[in-house]
Subunit: 406 residues, 2 copies
């Protein structure tokens, strides 16, 4: 209590639709506390600290800070830099000391929480009084402890709408493009892909098959399931995770296309959708189409979830409140208090419980055949997208009597 | 005048965000005219007529018909079927006669207008009194005569938002993913790709390079332009048309990847973005990323343009009015009456002027270097997206003085 000094805000990892809302909440809360003298923003995450690239947030207009609430992407810039050695840490501490930074707020995923944790431990070891608080952030929804993560609700809403629309497109034009594959983000955890099931309001709606990285891809099972849907409806929509692996643990894409290995030998994910298109063409002799919205899904302002945006804002504000109270080395979590009606509050967890941990989609959320999600998952994800999808017409289609055809 | 009978409505070609709005306008107008006795919808375009698969639109609720106004995709189902032979035409005429269809309204692109024109000419030749009217429809914006086409404003708004967001994503995270390629639809005409320039509100905004199929792709020029942007900003966003061809007239994608030729020998478009990623990796040793939203862009209800939706509705209603007046073998066109303020009315054109014609992006809309659009194009496209893009925060970024770094 009663620690006077400056506050530093940083954003880290992949941008999302609401990470700016988290920062907006944190900045607006910090402005209320007189212990916090100046407010700085680190440009490009931890790199901004190392390079002393920091901006004065007090010089931003109130309107700009408020507008952050609805602005996607990371307004302070992000990075994926990992602190490497003793030298990095020493530099970091020096910068914090030189600028009298006593509060350090980091919005990020599990890598970023590891960095925040290390900074916290360094400050403790060096007896530099510093309060480090994590703001949860990831479209991947793979942070441990928290019920869900800011960013996930919006990517889910976006994909629900996109897959619903792409599904209606396939249904309408199925005389020429009968199978569609939509490739979603997600390296090891299938939360994002799973959320596409929200698009399915009726049985014939897309998606019909959902392929998660938690389930090793089996080509025969896949083709047999696809064939069943296809024979029934005359069209089919598959959503698949970019991180899909086969039963040997190899990424589906890297085993198929040399283009996905770059000059440095890195296997680039993304391409699973085209691989499936190829498998479908080879085996079913059907030309499928692949939509791969890529980064657009994670960052889009087009379908921000109001619930997600609000929870992001509150988690940012709570991180500051807890910092002022004297907490450090912790992350704000989201706690689901009740399911129906959906109610959510915030909690706290030691960064040790979160840093570098990865929460995959649990078995109870995956259907028995491994190619769809369960109702329990739909219950979990539905409130996060902030209200139902927009209402569309579906014609009743009362056919008139044929006069010529027997 | 005074032709009593039934009306048939059909949708054809690729679905769009507003083709249902056109049909809603047409149906609501038709309901006002007592010469039109019953209203039928053909299921899957011209195939529905051939197969007598028609529904009774009078049995749809008013609410459902009104809701079509905001519902993307083709609610009646679409097709890409081409009428092949005399037999097809005879069957068609028989169905029209059997069901006393005297008004035939077809929403579609240049292929569909060709079909409509043929039906009109057949009826004239066979002395069957029939009024055939075309409702303009195509995201490709490549219909002749009309200033623009319903469907184009919405895909433009969607892409403007998507590319803006993907650009902010690239700008934020440029420490790891520095170059992004967004692949858009468009086989021979670059209108869709060109509209991505709407995303660029400031010089550093995406897109930085826009590659249209009207300009043969030259790898050296492209790499040199990209290098310039990249050196200046540290990141870059390219938008490219799926129908991009090299200077020999070969599709860029088909020359690079065998996967794009299917078992039937068809060259599948789509894949240009990944080809560019590969060219960038090979020459600049930089790992780029490709977003390929595919069909999501053309059909999405997420960013419907209000102007587009309204013009679609009106063009549908006008088609019916002109049919009632006695017109046949014509398509409703959109006429830009004034630029500032933007005003648009409808006109009429013979289907002969439109069927099978393709309007490419004219030279005056393409920048001198062939890798961007002109201000004149931006003036043309801006009113079609129905209002400015949502306001986002952009931090002023007043840097604080460094204390440690010399």
């Amino acid at each position: 209590m009663g620690l006077k000094g400056n506050a530093l805000f940083a954003q880290s990892g992949g941008p999302t639709a609401v990470i700016n809302s988290s920062i907006s909440g944190a900045i607006q809360e910090a402005a209320k506390h007189k212990d916090i003298t100046a407010m700085y923003g680190s440009i490009n995450g931890i790199l901004g600290v190392l390079n002393e690239n920091m901006i004065d947030l007090n010089k931003e207009s109130k309107r700009n800070i408020e507008l952050l609430r609805v602005t996607p992407s990371s307004a302070l810039g992000s990075s994926r830099h990992k602190l490497k050695n003793e030298e990095d840490f020493e530099k970091l501490l020096k910068v914090l000391q030189a600028h009298d930074i006593r509060y350090f707020f980091v919005a990020g995923g599990n890598d970023s929480m590891d960095t925040a944790n290390k900074v916290h431990k360094l400050a403790v070891a060096k007896k530099y009084e510093l309060r480090v608080m994590g703001l949860p952030k990831t479209v991947d929804n793979d942070l441990a402890v928290t019920d869900h993560c800011p960013g996930y609700g919006s990517v889910s809403r976006w994909l629900a709408m996109a897959v619903r629309d792409a599904g209606l497109d396939t249904e309408a034009i199925y005389t020429s493009d009968t199978i569609k594959v939509v490739e979603t983000m997600g390296r090891n955890a299938g939360w994002i892909t799973a959320s596409t099931a929200l698009a399915r309001l009726k049985e014939k709606d897309a998606p019909h098959i959902v392929l998660l990285p938690e389930v090793p891809f089996n080509q025969d099972k896949f083709l047999s399931a696809l064939d069943k849907v296809y024979k029934k409806l005359g069209y089919a929509v598959i959503t698949c995770c970019e991180g899909l692996k086969d039963e040997k643990g190899e990424y589906l894409t890297s085993s198929k296309r040399s283009i996905d290995t770059d000059k440095f030998g890195h296997k680039q994910l993304g391409g699973v959708g085209e691989t499936l298109v190829s498998i479908i063409a080879d085996n079913m002799k059907i030309k499928a189409r692949c939509d791969k919205p890529g980064t657009i899904q994670r960052v889009s302002g087009m379908a921000q979830s109001k619930v997600d945006q609000e929870e992001a804002f509150i988690s940012g504000a709570m991180a500051v409140k807890h910092g002022i109270e004297g907490k450090s080395g912790m992350m704000v979590t989201l706690v689901r208090d009740s399911e129906n009606p959906y109610k959510c509050s915030t909690g706290l967890s030691d960064l040790d419980n979160i840093a570098n941990k990865e929460r995959k989609v649990p078995a109870e959320f995956i259907s028995a055949d491994g190619m769809y999600v369960t109702d329990k998952f739909l219950q979990y994800v539905t409130p996060l997208i902030g209200g139902p999808l927009p209402e569309y017409a579906r014609l009743e289609k009362n056919f008139i009597a044929k006069k010529l055809t027997k």
